[in-house]
């Protein structure tokens, strides 16, 4: 790697410290009196999330209040972080349903593959970012908790333009 | 109050003298000298209550001399410390000369001494 040297020639009028200082103070005073502030007043004023924001999961339910999931096993299969734990079960009518469905939100990388692969459009990543817990165990969301979430879900693609054109 | 001031001044002066006689840390000896100057200043102030403000003028002279002394003295201590890496007066004895087995880089200038113990002359930190 070659080194290139550039010698700066400074005009004498630019080297005055006092004048540069006064100029700087004028700038800061202008900002001081400027009523337009850029801070977001966070808890009251929230950030508008993108429709494609991928946050914590949510399980959609059918009209009977049951999970839409049919325990096909595609989402644990595709999950690159291996954070979905699914134990399938079957009722007396032969409908498959998840006995255990847990997502470890700490391991999850929010890639959204589970939503993409789900044939029933049951599991979704959601437009939500305010999640805090007192313990690590609190971040393992079980089925009930996933169903209880109410935040809007992520739109993986724009329905009017499914191929992103 | 003047006799009391003179009494305090005498005791402070003697404390300074005893410090100079018993301590070996050059910086502390220096501070003892400052203490003696302070004691003298106190008696000057005491006498200025009796004979007029000239005593205070002398205190100002003493202070400026003390300031000059501190500047030069500390510069000397720094110079000695650079050379010997100690401020222990036991080791600052250039006038005694240097011993033959001194590993100090200036050994060539050393004077060979008929020392009672050939391995010790105290000239530097290696043969302390």
């Amino acid at each position: 790697m070659a080194i290139q040297v550039k010698v700066l020639e400074r005009p004498i009028r630019q080297t005055s410290y006092v004048r540069a200082m006064l100029k700087g103070m004028a700038i800061t005073f202008k900002h001081l009196t400027n009523p337009h502030k850029v801070t977001w007043q966070y808890p009251e004023q929230k950030w508008d999330l993108s429709p494609r924001w991928r946050g914590t999961h949510r399980m959609l339910t059918d009209e009977n209040g049951k999970a839409k999931c049919v325990a096909c096993g595609l989402c644990p299969q595709i999950c690159p972080a291996n954070c979905i734990k699914l134990v399938p079960g079957e009722d007396e009518e032969g409908n498959r349903y998840p006995l255990v469905y847990e997502i470890d939100e700490f391991r999850c990388i929010f890639c959204g593959y589970c939503q993409e692969v789900c044939p029933e459009e049951a599991i979704h990543v959601g437009r939500h970012y305010e999640n805090s817990e007192y313990s690590r165990a609190g971040f393992v969301y079980d089925l009930e908790r996933l169903m209880a979430q109410t935040h809007p879900v992520c739109e993986m693609w724009d329905p009017a333009d499914p191929r992103g054109e | 109050m003047v006799p009391e001031a003179l009494f305090f001044s005498a005791i402070l002066f003697v404390i300074g003298v005893v410090g100079v006689l018993t301590r070996r840390n050059a910086i502390i000896i220096f501070m003892c000298v400052e203490l003696m100057l302070n004691a003298v200043n106190l008696s000057f102030i005491g006498f200025s209550r009796l004979y007029g403000a000239s005593g205070q003028v002398f205190v100002i002279f003493v202070m400026s001399v003390a300031a000059a002394e501190a500047a030069v003295g500390l510069a000397i201590i720094i110079a000695i410390f650079r050379h010997h890496e100690t401020v222990d007066l036991k080791n600052i004895n250039l006038l005694k000369g240097w011993c033959s087995n001194c590993p100090w880089p200036n050994r060539v200038e050393c004077i060979r001494l008929p020392a009672p113990s050939p391995s010790w002359c105290g000239c530097c930190r290696y043969c302390r």
Partner: protein, 434 residues
Amino acid sequence: MNTYAALMLFQHAYDPQAPVHGAPWLWFSIIKILVVFTVLMVTIAYLTLAERKISAWIQDRHGPNRVGPRGLAQPLADGLKNIMKEETYPSAAYSPLFILAPVMSFIPALITFAVIPFAAPLPTPWGLVDMSIADLPVGFLYILAIASLGVYGIVLAGWSSNNKYALLGGLRSSAQMVSYEVSMGLAVVAVLLLSGNVSLSSIVASQVATGWYFFPLLIGFFLFLVAAFAETNRLPFDLPEAESELIAGYHTEYSSMKFSMFFIAEYSNMTTASARLTTLFFGGWAVPFWTTVDTAPWHWWKTVITLVCFMIKTGFFLFLYMWIRWTLPRFRYDQLMSVGWKVMLPIALCYLVVMAGAILALDAAGVAPSARFGDFVPTYWAILGVLNIVLAVLVFVVLDRGRLVSPASARVGPSELAELRAMATRGPAPAQGD
């Protein structure tokens, strides 16, 4: 004899326009100490909030606004947090001095305020009460003496922490404060020349009589301002606690309330420095263009108005401190030292000679300090002010050409510069190796 009659007796024994003395003097002193201490501590608490708010506004943010209405209870929350936090003691620290150091920086910062007159005297039934805790006859020297003690706390904190960053911070600050003290002292000798007295109340009184000193002593004021910034370790002179180089300098190892005491010391130093600037150069408590308020006979409403005036002036300088802090970057250490010794000190010395000569010349020309042009422009004030403006033009236009604060390249000699230029014109050197 009932109580009322006794009170009346006392009232007749004293003249409200004569200085208070005896036992009432002692009581008034104690009351003044308590009130000034309380006001100072509350001011300091709110200065921390003001600093954060002003920094926020300058950076287009809102600043703390969560605790209390518009964030006004934030200092309380901070104080509570600092009291409740755990105190840590480094195992290698020399603990007596480690504990002593915050105290040693805290006390000088507070007791400087004792001699500053903050309002016109207040007449009471027991006599005229000076509105300064102790109007010492050597008030100005007292300020210089106490200001020079502030360095102990920092030096001891740096040394006793047994931490190399803290030690470097302590060394830097002792060198910095000793260097700038000299120019600070020399810059205000001109004030003493004009007022002819070292007591602060008489400095204020002579400013009431002959006009404020910032105009006839413009350069002295500027030098004092810069030295005050350096003495209080505020930006652009906050080398002792430069975060990016020394972590936090001398208070690296301190936590909770001991850290807080360094912080309080810094802000009370700022307050006293602002009060000093006000007293020495901006007429102290004097109200501009309203001589009735500034002169005897005294009345309680005069005390109130002058107190407010003093607070406004001091507040302006406190704001200036913060404004400059959030504008200027920090100096390098060599720049700091060369500004102190090669610029401030020679300018202060030359300025002293010029001002003493000018005052002597005015005296020889028979201009009395009280003489006035026309009706209200004081002659002394105007002549010295014009002289100072000429000097200011000389200093800031002629001298300030990259010499007051020199860039690193200024130390490159002409031959090295020529070499660099030749290298630059040659273009990129051929790549080494492959």
